[in-house]
């Protein structure tokens, strides 16, 4: 069947899937946009309670990981298998650090009584409840996608090692990379909207 060797077709399929992910998060951004307009003051106050340093570090980490993945795709096409593996391992490490950071952040918030349906949020200003509600839902969904992305990158790592992915047949690696970049793209918007609002 021709589709087995049609790498462009596989790439098209992956992009189509990415569009569904964009719209999936898009629904949440609709809610953010409306509530930001309605509760701007509360959102600003909420933003102040988030740790900027964590946000900046996570942003930088994801950008580096995207670079690593893109580099590994260049590497595979140049038949530089070791570099490809290094790129993927580096991206996976970045993902892991991101998740650890997220865990620490959430833990910190939960310890301070800020979690969905917590007393502090229910009794506080409604805009603040919405801000943190959106924070948990959006970063939670994003975190799930980090895990999915890391899984795909890990499988790609195995495929590169076992030479299932080669310099002529690397659609799986390329598509996993695309998925990972999308996860980075979403964070590029989450970061300023939650950590940098004034």
């Amino acid at each position: 069947m021709s589709s087995q060797t049609d790498e462009s077709g596989k790439k098209l399929g992956m992009w189509l899937f990415l569009y569904t992910e964009i719209i999936l998060f898009g629904g949440l951004f609709v809610l953010y946009a409306v509530y930001f307009a309605r509760y701007t003051g509360d959102f600003i106050e909420g933003g102040k309670e988030l740790n900027r340093l964590f946000g900046i570090v996570n942003t930088v980490i994801l950008l580096i990981s995207s670079f690593s993945v893109a580099a590994s795709i260049t590497a595979i096409q140049k038949k530089e298998k070791t570099r490809a593996l290094a790129g993927l391992i580096s991206a996976l490490l970045c993902g892991l650090i991101f998740l650890v950071n997220k865990y620490i952040e959430w833990g910190h918030k939960i310890d301070h009584g800020i979690f969905p349906n917590s007393e502090k949020l229910i009794e506080g200003p409604p805009g603040q409840n919405i801000f943190f509600g959106l924070y948990y839902v959006i970063t939670g969904l994003h975190g799930i996608h980090i895990i999915i992305g890391m899984t795909l990158l890990f499988i790609s790592l195995v495929f590169v090692q076992t030479k299932t992915v080669t310099h002529t047949r690397f659609a799986f690696l390329e598509n996993s990379g695309l998925y990972w970049h999308l996860v980075d793209l979403i964070w590029i918007f989450i970061f300023p909207l939650f950590y940098l609002i004034i």
């Binding site: 049609d6 970049h181 609002i197």
Partner: protein
Amino acid sequence: MKDKSPLHFFEYKTLFNVLLVLLVLTGITVGASFVDLGSLNVWIALIIASIKASFVLLFFMHMKYEGRVLVFSFLGTIFFLGIMISFTFWDVAFR
């Protein structure tokens, strides 16, 4: 259907330069958040984020060298997202 796009990849140097640009833009957006420009702040943040996203799309995601189908379908998706958010404001902004 034959594969139309020629096999092309970015050199490590190019990718690294893109990373540097992204880090600089991140620095700019953090810096901008210390300057109170009222309601403009969120738009500036979104514009810078969009520029960062464009670099990731064009270079890391190879969109610069992709064909019409991908470019138009991507833009179409963003257009639909734009409608989703903006048309909701026909309601929310005029209540």
